[in-house]
């Protein structure tokens, strides 16, 4: 009976934890996507100072969630985001607009993909 109770509690904890994590990813990734959009707009008009500010915000927000994401998400996606951020930072230093736009698009895609992958949908389930 003790084992039944313990395992039932574990199942409930996992379920609530998973729900909480799904919400956490959705909220944080939405915030990142909003900042990425602002970054994109700043780069299009070549406002490098503002773009740098937005990039710093993105990096700060990403580092905050990265600690938890590293434990719970596959490392391929996390590594891809880190590579993109580093590339954007370097391209921004040399003010290479075209390359940055490409990288920002990729970054937006990966962040959105992470969000969609963690959402409980039929397509993810199947």
């Amino acid at each position: 009976m003790k084992v039944v109770i313990i395992t039932t509690i574990i199942l409930i904890l996992f379920f609530t934890g998973a729900l909480f994590f799904s919400q956490y990813v959705t909220i944080n990734n939405e915030k990142l996507l909003t900042t990425i959009d602002k970054l994109d707009k700043a780069i299009l008009v070549e406002d490098w100072e503002t773009a740098k500010g937005h990039l710093d915000n993105i990096k700060e927000d990403w580092n905050k969630v990265n600690t938890i994401y590293e434990v719970l998400l596959e490392h391929y996606d996390i590594d891809s985001v880190n590579v993109s951020l580093n590339k954007i930072e370097k391209y921004m230093e040399v003010e290479e607009r075209n390359l940055i736009i490409g990288e920002v698009t990729q970054l937006r895609f990966i962040i959105d993909l992470i969000k969609k992958r963690e959402t409980f949908t039929l397509s993810n389930l199947l």
Binding site: V3, T7, T8, I10, L11, F14, E70, L73, H75
Partner: protein
């Protein structure tokens, strides 16, 4: 490499704990769904063990989830007959009063050769010696032979014998099991006397010592390699 090493360690202990919590059954005695879960757990443990890009929790969560579901399903099987019938199925009588139940053989998709093989493995080479044969839910065949073919027991010979007790291990691999010694009517002085009788100087030199079911004391010295 160190990461793989530590992950293997963690997952090994997790699997051991999970298998313990699942209960004591041998592979041959498991229900089909229990066997499937055991194989699944092995597979789930292997994947994060060898691939460090996959978080360890991706192995831990499904393993513990399977454990939880299996424990709950087993518990419900005990509490409810209908759940037990759905999950485990029902035993099937294949031979009833010496006659083969052909409809059951067809339903279970067992052919005669399979049945005869099972009977031979159970040491009943003659079908005519079997009164009942039951296919259990775990796939084993239980045989109830005809009365005239039953093995002779002491009761048949009207022999009275004292009930045998459980064997009690006293020393195991050089270590004295004090609790077990206390459960018998003997103490350390008696044990030391027995050691001296067998030319053994200390407990650490004993490989195995026990009281048999008939309360005889047996002792075996450790071999020096």
């Amino acid at each position: 490499m160190l990461i793989i090493f530590v992950r293997a360690f963690i997952l090994y202990f997790l699997v051991v704990v999970v298998m313990r919590m699942m209960g004591k059954r041998q592979i041959g005695q498991m229900q089909p769904f229990e066997l499937v879960i055991t194989i699944l757990i092995a597979e789930l443990a292997a994947t994060p063990m060898e691939n460090t890009a996959i978080p360890l929790i991706n192995g831990i969560i499904p393993i513990l989830t399977l454990l939880g579901v299996q424990v709950i399903v087993s518990y419900l099987s005990i509490k409810s007959e209908s759940v037990s019938n759905i999950i485990c199925g029902k035993p099937s009588i294949i031979i009833n009063k010496g006659e083969i139940v052909q409809s059951e053989l067809r339903r279970l998709r067992i052919n005669m050769n399979d049945l005869l093989e099972q009977l031979r493995l159970k040491e009943y080479p003659n079908l005519s010696d079997v009164e009942f044969a039951i296919m259990e839910t775990n796939g084993n065949l239980s045989i109830i032979p005809k009365t005239s073919k039953n093995k002779v027991v002491l009761e048949d010979l009207k022999i009275d014998k004292q009930q045998e007790q459980l064997p009690v291990t006293i020393i195991l691999d050089g270590k004295l099991l004090t609790k077990n010694l206390d459960s018998t009517d003997h103490n350390m002085d008696w044990l030391n006397q027995q050691l001296r009788k067998n030319n053994i100087s200390k407990i650490e030199d004993v490989f195995f010592a026990f009281f048999s079911s008939t309360k005889e004391f047996h002792i075996q010295k450790r071999q020096i390699s």
